[in-house]
Assembly symmetry: C2
Homo-oligomer: 178 residues x 2
DNA sequence: GCTACCATACCGACCAGTTGGTTGGTTTTG
DNA sequence: CAAAACCAACCAACTGGTCGGTATGGTAGC
């Protein structure tokens, strides 16, 4: 059994971005963060791009998992829109679960966000067909993403009490749609 | 009279980010983009941080100007919420006017976004006092920002016809609030 | 007019530190 | 043992920033 696996490296990389900023996400820094030499790190991810891709995939996976959990958990709590809103807010709750890989990736090479872009498109098209008022659904989704990205970029604090109120209000509005 | 002024340098820097990504926003690249030697560039902005700060200030200025124009233009078209929504969409219309300095700055040092953070807080607190339904106002603002940041990060295309529909819908909803 | 002086804009060579990635070898594990 | 995991040393390219110097234009005194 290996001392560190890819998941651990990804978490370490995310931690580096959180502590020192996306610009300082270097192979050396990640290696140091997870107690590995640079050589050892490169053994797992041959290039920095590969690491960034893995970070993004992990982020997408986390979000999808949370959404599916929510959708499976309470049948009457809402459709796909509510699931997405829920998963975003779940990620926002903990400072450490915010996928700052987004910043590092888009700074390195915007093309890396392609998987995210296509997944977003898929979610949007789903809402267009399942919701009674697709426009409003997209607006609510955008609102959640606005708060989410605001948190990721660090221009929003989540300790503001208004945050939770917006969360419940969003879910309530979403419940009337899907 | 100088051949290049600070405004031109800022535009050149924004162009570099647009073409090559935030990570490639280097003093050399900016100097080359505006036909200046690195020495000449550093003469105008002593450090890269100073350049980034100026880029952010310029972005804030642009947005504020657009919002004030709109507010002054049509008295009945809406209050501060509508003005903000309008200014964001105005910036989104043109690929070149998207302030990608945001990405470069947050990657370099998240603390650089402090001016933006405090301005956002100011806008929010204004909405809290002037709107009949502050929660909904914040949601609409967040929706606009979600679309805006989606465009800045490049995960959203503006050529989608749904975009304009969301714009008008947002303004309509905003009109009922402030 | 001419000189001496100064400030601004700009250049391009240079430097120290950083970065992504390679290589050749060692340890660990199944 | 063979493969996988890992390491230390190294390298070439890049990066932010410095430095000494040039070109230009204004201006004060004579």
């Amino acid at each position: 059994m290996s001392k560190v696996d890819k998941e651990a490296i990804i978490r370490a990389a995310e931690e580096v971005v959180r502590e020192k900023g996306a610009r300082k996400l270097t192979l050396d820094a990640v290696a140091a963060q997870c107690g590995l030499s640079k050589g050892g790190l490169v053994h797992h991810f041959r290039t920095k791009q590969a690491l960034l891709q893995a970070m993004l995939e992990s982020a997408i996976g986390c979000e999808t998992e949370l959404a599916e959990e929510y959708a499976a958990g309470g049948g009457e709590t809402g459709g796909p829109l509510a699931s997405r809103i829920h998963s975003m807010f779940a990620l926002m709750e903990d400072e450490k679960s915010l996928p700052r890989a987004l910043i590092a990736a888009v700074a390195e090479d915007p093309a890396l966000l392609e998987p995210i872009k296509s997944k977003e498109a898929k979610v949007r098209s789903e809402l267009l067909t399942t919701c009674s008022d697709p426009e409003m659904a997209l607006l609510l989704l955008s609102a959640a993403r606005g708060l989410f990205l605001g948190r990721v970029l660090g221009v929003l604090d989540s300790d503001d009490p208004i945050f939770e109120r917006l969360h419940t209000r969003l879910l309530k509005l979403a419940a009337d749609l899907d």
